[in-house]
Symmetry: C2
Subunit: 553 residues, 2 copies
């Protein structure tokens, strides 16, 4: 421990503030008097509407101040000995000094990432679960909330798997059944899925009596005569799958990227070839899982899930679907057919903070088999005792907030149809936006939308004509110039602060040496209309004309 204290006695600002026992008591109890009660409500009013008014008068995404300038303002690393600010001043500071330099993700002009506006009632719901401060790791700190969590998990499980009423009656509140778990986000949901697949594959056997979770991966490979495990997923798979394989000891090089076809879906013949090659040439390699993508992060595309399920079943491997993005499409009668086959998955990732429009951070993993998570169960003496209904027994996380109450309430307020309307709006607006991009000469639509994500780039007709007849070297040279233009376009537009699209890098013909920088739009905000998208294209045309045209001459 440090010999000297890293705190100081020099308060900055409020030199009259003193930390004492009276003050502590006041911050722990909501004051009794009507006056102080009114004060606290006034604070909440300021929070709800101060922020809202600010965001509305500042329609921009972010202010022009550079990151460097910002960084220089936040370098003081000493904690005051006494309080520095009162709550009212902290709130004011967050609204006036922090919010303006945060990112207005709720703007309909912010169409670059999977973070967007959330319905205002979500803020109320989060406030409730914060005030209740239940810890869902165990019944003793959550009671009914654990029961509600099991119920809402069964509700979503039903949307995915649509088993019989009898099935849900049997499992919904059964202490031994786990139809799904809440996680911090899609990353930990994917991690939990591969963790489960790994442990299910390397069960105890003769001479390996305790299994992989206890004895470790190296011992498991030795016992099962395996040199390596692989996970097969298209090049569109989320990077969290590589991260999960790295963490789990599988090795992220062993997440084998399968080429995609023209439609950005996994190339099934390529997948089959890879499987055949592994089976014939590498008898000591185990295919741990095949992952289908339902709403690729970069292109919003969906793999042929039924085919993947069939292939997975044939080679007896875990079939996981990463529907972190696309999952709620199941609410839409019009579009849920796009996810056909998802009910065949052993496990499905969904994200609450994406198309369920919940606040950060909330992920979920659903399991076809209510006993699947038994292979990752952990117990302790003071919680999660064997046979208890403590939800923490089968989760990666320990202490955990009750996001399930938010989801359950949101489903009641929105109805399945409310979510369907949002899904339909996104898909249909993206389709119209794609038509608009095609209509405009300056742009090239790179990946047409299937759900509500598309990519495009600036590529003037003259250049496109050259590309059509170019050989490999010429094409690469031209694309490099275009990449520079599109990269700079995205940066200029972001820094101008009025609107925001993101950018990513796709590959020409799956060739890692043939990278194409594209602009990426995610249409999830119901306020994002085609008119707004047109404004964004107009701005891009202007920026190109003014600042970037020369780069292509």
């Amino acid at each position: 421990m440090s010999e000297q204290t890293a705190t100081t006695n020099q308060p900055s600002g409020h030199s009259d503030l003193v930390a004492d026992w009276d003050r502590l008591f006041r911050v722990f109890i909501c004051p009794e008097g009507q006056a102080s009660r009114a004060t606290l409500i006034k604070y909440m009013d300021r929070i709800l509407y101060g922020l809202n008014d600010f965001l509305k008068t500042n329609v921009g995404i972010t202010e022009a101040i550079s990151l460097k300038d910002l960084s220089e303002r936040f370098t003081d690393t000493v904690i005051n000995e006494n309080p520095e600010k009162k709550l009212a001043d902290v709130i004011t500071c967050l609204i006036k000094d922090i919010a303006p330099h945060a990112v207005n993700v709720s703007s309909p002009y912010f169409v670059g990432h999977m973070t967007s506006a959330i319905p205002f009632f979500m803020v109320h719901l989060k406030t409730i679960i914060t005030a209740l401060n239940q810890n869902v790791v165990k019944l003793e700190t959550s009671k009914v909330v654990s029961v509600v969590e099991k119920q809402v998990i069964a509700k979503i499980h039903r949307v995915i798997y649509n088993n019989t009423e009898a099935f849900y009656r049997q499992h919904v509140q059964n202490a031994d059944s786990t139809l799904g778990v809440f996680t911090e986000g899609g990353t930990t949901a994917n991690l939990t899925a591969l963790w489960t697949a790994r442990n299910a594959k390397f069960q105890p056997k003769n001479g390996f009596s305790r299994g992989i979770e206890a004895e470790g991966l190296a011992a498991a490979y030795r016992a099962w005569d395996i040199d390596r495990c692989v996970v097969l997923v298209s090049r569109r798979g989320h990077y969290s799958l590589r991260k999960a394989a790295g963490i789990l000891g599988i090795g992220n090089d062993n997440v084998i990227p399968i080429d995609i076809g023209k439609n950005n879906r996994i190339d099934l013949s390529c997948l089959k070839r890879t499987i055949r090659r592994l089976e014939t040439e590498e008898p000591r390699t185990c295919i741990l899982a095949i992952v289908g993508v339902a709403g690729a992060t970069e292109t919003g595309t969906v793999d042929p899930l039924e085919d993947l399920a069939e292939i997975s079943a044939r080679i007896n491997t875990h079939f996981h679907v990463d529907a972190a993005w696309g999952g709620p499409t199941l609410f839409s009668k019009k579009y849920r057919h796009l996810l056909k086959g998802i009910s065949l998955a052993n496990s499905v990732t969904m994200d609450g903070h994406k198309q369920f429009y919940m606040p950060m951070s909330c992920g979920m993993l659903y399991l076809k088999d209510p006993a699947a998570l038994d292979v990752i169960a952990y117990h302790a003496n003071y919680v999660n005792r064997m046979g208890s209904v403590d939800l923490g027994i089968k989760t990666l996380s320990g202490s955990r907030e009750a996001n399930s109450l938010i989801l359950d309430s949101a489903l009641k307020i929105m109805g399945a149809k409310g979510y369907a309307l949002l899904i339909d709006h996104g898909i249909e607006t993206a389709a119209a936006f794609a038509e608009e991009i095609k209509r405009r000469d300056l742009f090239e639509l790179m990946t047409p939308p299937v759900l509500n994500i598309l990519t495009y780039r600036i590529c003037p007709p003259r250049i496109r004509a050259i590309l059509n007849t170019a050989d490999d070297d010429q094409r690469r040279a031209i694309n490099e110039k275009l990449n520079t233009v599109n990269r700079r376009l995205q940066t200029i537009q972001r820094e101008t602060g009025k609107s925001f699209v993101s950018r990513t890098t796709l590959l020409h013909n799956n060739n890692p040496n043939d990278a194409i920088v594209v602009l990426r739009s995610v249409i999830m905000n119901p306020m994002t209309t085609l008119a707004i998208l047109n404004e964004i294209l107009d701005e891009q045309e202007r920026i190109f004309e003014r600042e970037l045209k020369g780069l292509l001459e």
Copy 2:
């Protein structure tokens, strides 16, 4: 995908509610009119004070309704097609139907777990970060919030490591430096620590050019001529360490529990013997990390961190300190000497939702070396690009809420001294409680408090006298009877609903076949006074007299 929908058209309750586009627009925008604005504030008033009033009039921990009865009320797994309830009704239902069956963790009579009352301003702060909905995984969805996060991490790093002002100037806003990361909780913080230790140990080398994260654990062991890795921690280590070893492929059997001495700290001679045995008898075993506990979950005890640091340095292994519970003791000038040596740790876990009194869920990991997390870095094309300041590059999680804003604001509102007062109160109240337990004949103090946690049990003087002279078999038989009594006492008291202590199982002389059930008290709520603790003991005496005495005759 399911052919039929799992949703229905029969709304229960509000048959007049319809999901349509107008309604959607209304829930996404805060209404402009003063009337609806007032309505929303009224809801917030109801949330803040409805809950508070309820909790105050119902001083109990939880209502008597059994889990079985509760479970039967939450079995409907069909999602309504149209909205089921309006926001106002959902809020009313959460306050009137859910809260009464949740657990009143804010009661000063709830002294059994590490979840407790939080200052009311925490609710306001959480509301702000929810309304801002920033995603700290990347700068493009957080901007200034990422900058603030780096700053507050440096502030806490300074409390732990107390490096020079120049050190913090250099690293606080440096894109390449990572002084710490926010995690979902202590479990993922501990996981991140061991992940880092694992990857640092198995760096790339000849014939293993990509390292363990890429090539996997089995390949790493082969390349480095290792059969297994072990992690050494006392029997008081948190179960998340075993979970982390299981996930990481190390195997949870390879977390070797080191016996503890009489004072519940790790037995250093036992640790040294274990190391010597491994070094001499198992040349192909690698000691990956030694973990010190700073605030054991069960007993609140603190390992001799300086000694552990010295031993770790001597054998060149990662030294991790799990200070999820005890970390904020560093704010107390009076008691921070208890954590002496923590500044020598390679990594330190702390929990925001424990003694920082933040809402669920918030963990943190701090690193002595600002480059330590380089071995777990991940990049993607659309975020976390190489060289960017995106915080998600070196975190287990992907999307993540901005809990750092809450911590930063809380430090300003409380001051270091505010936290110190809470720490001092807990430690001193626990000490007084221990004296009271010793004063009462019926109770036996099992583990005296070092921080603010202690364990005790019911053990009448007559039985204690017998135990003093009993042989092993007699002792075990008597302890089994006592275990039944204490187990039932805890359950009866919990179900009576007025107060709550938890229970856990400790070992007599580190012998796994000699388990002793104890009652466990965690004194973190500043409203928990000695008078209240006496009431809890009184109730236990009454329950024993009335219902359990006979079991010992």
